[in-house]
């Protein structure tokens, strides 16, 4: 149990650091969703299924989609390393 929680915490920390350091906006958004997804697994392990459901649906799902759509709307939806030259 402790091992699993530690593993999830490491995944969350790695994804959170990636969110800040990645130069690609879309990849940073995906990393942020990974944080929420791992957090929802952690909530489920800690027997808080209600919070886990909310975190999975809102944190990992909707907020990621909303951020990605916002990137698309402001023209930062790029597949390369942040160079705004050839967006998809």
């Amino acid at each position: 149990m402790i091992l699993l929680v530690t593993l999830i915490a490491i995944v969350m920390l790695a994804a959170a650091i990636l969110t800040v350091t990645l130069r690609n906006w879309l990849a940073a958004t995906a990393a942020l969703s990974v944080v929420s997804l791992a957090l929802s697994v952690l909530f489920a392990l800690l027997r808080a299924p209600d919070v886990a459901l909310a975190e999975a649906a809102v944190g990992a799902g909707l907020s990621g989609v909303l951020l990605a759509l916002t990137l698309r709307r402001v023209g930062l939806w790029t597949n390369n390393d942040g160079k705004p030259g050839d967006s998809q």
């Binding site: 209600d50 909310a54 402001v74």
Partner: protein
């Protein structure tokens, strides 16, 4: 529609020289915060929080509200007014976002259809997501989940087909109607509770048998209203961010 911001690299100030002072202050702050949090966490045995209120609620909630799911018992039975406030906050946020986005040119469909696989999968997922969302909302007083979670899944159900084919119409008018009536239903149920001389949101129609679908009085109805309201709000919000064509 693509506007580029070449200056967006400036956002990261860490790499610049001359920020060493700020960096050191940040590190010091982080170390202090870490020390405080570590002391706090180390003094609590893992998984055994000393919560007296929680224990009392665990013992009494199911009998007092009739809801098997303690979270629902708290969310709607003990602090239903706070939940109404939460829903109002969500409504205000969605309305503000919709207002800002409407002035930024909502209405034209952007982008072409997604690939065949995604389009087919989106339409095949639609009924399943609908059923899952409805189940989570309707069984909110029995099993984990409820109006907020189920509403988010309902919103996803209606948004996924739109993502697959952006040109398909999203009916904002229907979403607004559902949202308004759901919010009204919540307040009307609360006011009906006052008719018998009780307080706002006093439970109606009796508690029923524990574990039955029709139990916990008016809590399932309240959750249904919340689910529909949250679902239509989020779906409308995502559709207006996406720039879905408005069919009015």
């Amino acid at each position: 529609m693509r506007r580029h911001y070449p200056q967006h690299r400036v956002i990261r100030p860490m790499g610049h020289q001359g920020n060493h002072g700020r960096l050191a202050a940040s590190a010091l702050f982080l170390a202090g915060l870490g020390l405080l949090l570590f002391n706090l966490v180390a003094s609590i045995p893992f998984g055994h929080a000393p919560l007296h209120v929680g224990r009392a609620i665990l013992e009494r909630a199911s009998g007092e509200t009739g809801a098997d799911n303690i979270v629902t018992a708290i969310l709607l039975g003990y602090r239903g007014l706070d939940t109404l406030g939460e829903v109002t906050i969500l409504f205000t946020a969605a309305a503000a976002a919709g207002m800002v986005l409407a002035s930024a040119g909502r209405g034209q469909a952007q982008g072409e259809d997604a690939g065949f696989i995604f389009r087919t999968a989106a339409w095949m997922l639609f009924p399943f997501l609908l059923v899952v969302g409805a189940y989570i909302i309707i069984h909110g007083h029995l099993t984990p989940g409820g109006g907020f979670q189920g509403g988010a899944i309902l919103a996803a159900a209606f948004f996924t087909p739109l993502l697959a084919s952006p040109a398909s119409p999203f009916n904002h008018r229907v979403a607004t109607l559902v949202e308004g009536f759901a919010g009204l239903a919540f307040i009307v149920i609360g006011l009906l509770g006052m008719l018998g001389g009780g307080q706002f949101l006093t439970q109606l129609f009796g508690k029923g048998a524990p574990g039955a679908l029709f139990s916990a009085g008016s809590l399932p109805v309240l959750y249904l209203a919340i689910g529909l309201k949250v679902g239509s709000e989020l779906a409308g919000l995502m559709a207006s961010v996406f720039g879905g064509k408005e069919k009015a």
